[in-house]
């Protein structure tokens, strides 16, 4: 699936013009990117959380030469899928009501509903 196919889905399901749908899809990813570029996390309930993590500098090795190199401290983006998404992929109930306080939803009640 590409951005163009997401636009197509919005056109089909919501009835927006392709132009408007494309504009909105563009904006959504643009805003998510800008937010992450500020170092702020983005939480999409029912989908997952995008979190910027700081990695300390460490010694590594060039796997080809075995030579030791220093890897600088850096920031990386991690994606933690929501329980809902994980369950959907495994054809389980979308929300496991017996276990509402999953790791992903602790302290974030809005993620459950």
């Amino acid at each position: 699936m590409t951005k163009a196919e997401i636009v197509e889905q919005i056109y089909e399901r919501v009835g927006f013009s392709k132009k408007e749908a494309a504009e909105l899809v563009e904006k959504v990813f643009e805003i998510i990117k800008e937010t992450l570029a500020e170092g702020e996390k983005v939480k999409v309930s029912g989908f997952g959380n995008f979190v910027v993590r700081h990695k300390n500098a460490r010694k590594g090795r060039n796997p080809q030469t075995g030579q030791e190199i220093l890897l600088d401290a850096r920031k990386v983006l991690t994606f933690k899928p929501s329980l809902v998404l994980k369950n959907v992929l495994n054809d389980e109930d979308e929300v496991d009501e017996g276990n509402p306080q999953s790791i992903e939803t602790v302290g974030e009640p809005s993620d459950i509903y």
């Binding site: 699936m1 919501v14 805003i31 990117k33 570029a37 939480k43 999409v44 983006l77 998404l85």
Partner: protein
């Protein structure tokens, strides 16, 4: 930022589209992505990243409390690989500590 924050911001930048419509579109974006992943499809958003479903093989695990072996069945798990552009943007993002200090002020 949460999904509702995202909807607010999209609505703010597209004043010609109602907030209600914006909400429907944002939800549809993620719903269609979930359905695509459910079908085992790969999603590629240029400049952002790609999502892919990988299968984790069945394995024998242990109950951490009792130490008893438990059978863990095969699982499908979504993976995200950050795109080059976003990867660079994130690496240059301000430190979280700095951000916290600013938030206090």
């Amino acid at each position: 930022m949460t999904k509702s924050g995202l909807i607010e911001e999209v609505a703010r930048r597209t004043p010609h589209i109602s907030k209600k419509d914006t909400e429907v579109v944002v939800n549809t974006i993620f719903e269609s992505m979930i359905e695509s992943l459910r079908e085992g499809e790969r999603i590629e958003i240029r400049g952002f990243g790609s999502f892919q479903v990988k299968v984790r093989e069945a394995r024998e695990g242990r109950n951490p409390k009792t130490g008893a072996p438990v059978q863990i069945s095969a699982k499908r798990t979504p993976f995200f690989k950050v795109g080059k552009e976003l990867k660079e943007m994130v690496d240059e993002s301000p430190d979280p500590d700095v951000e916290k200090q600013e938030a206090v002020l």
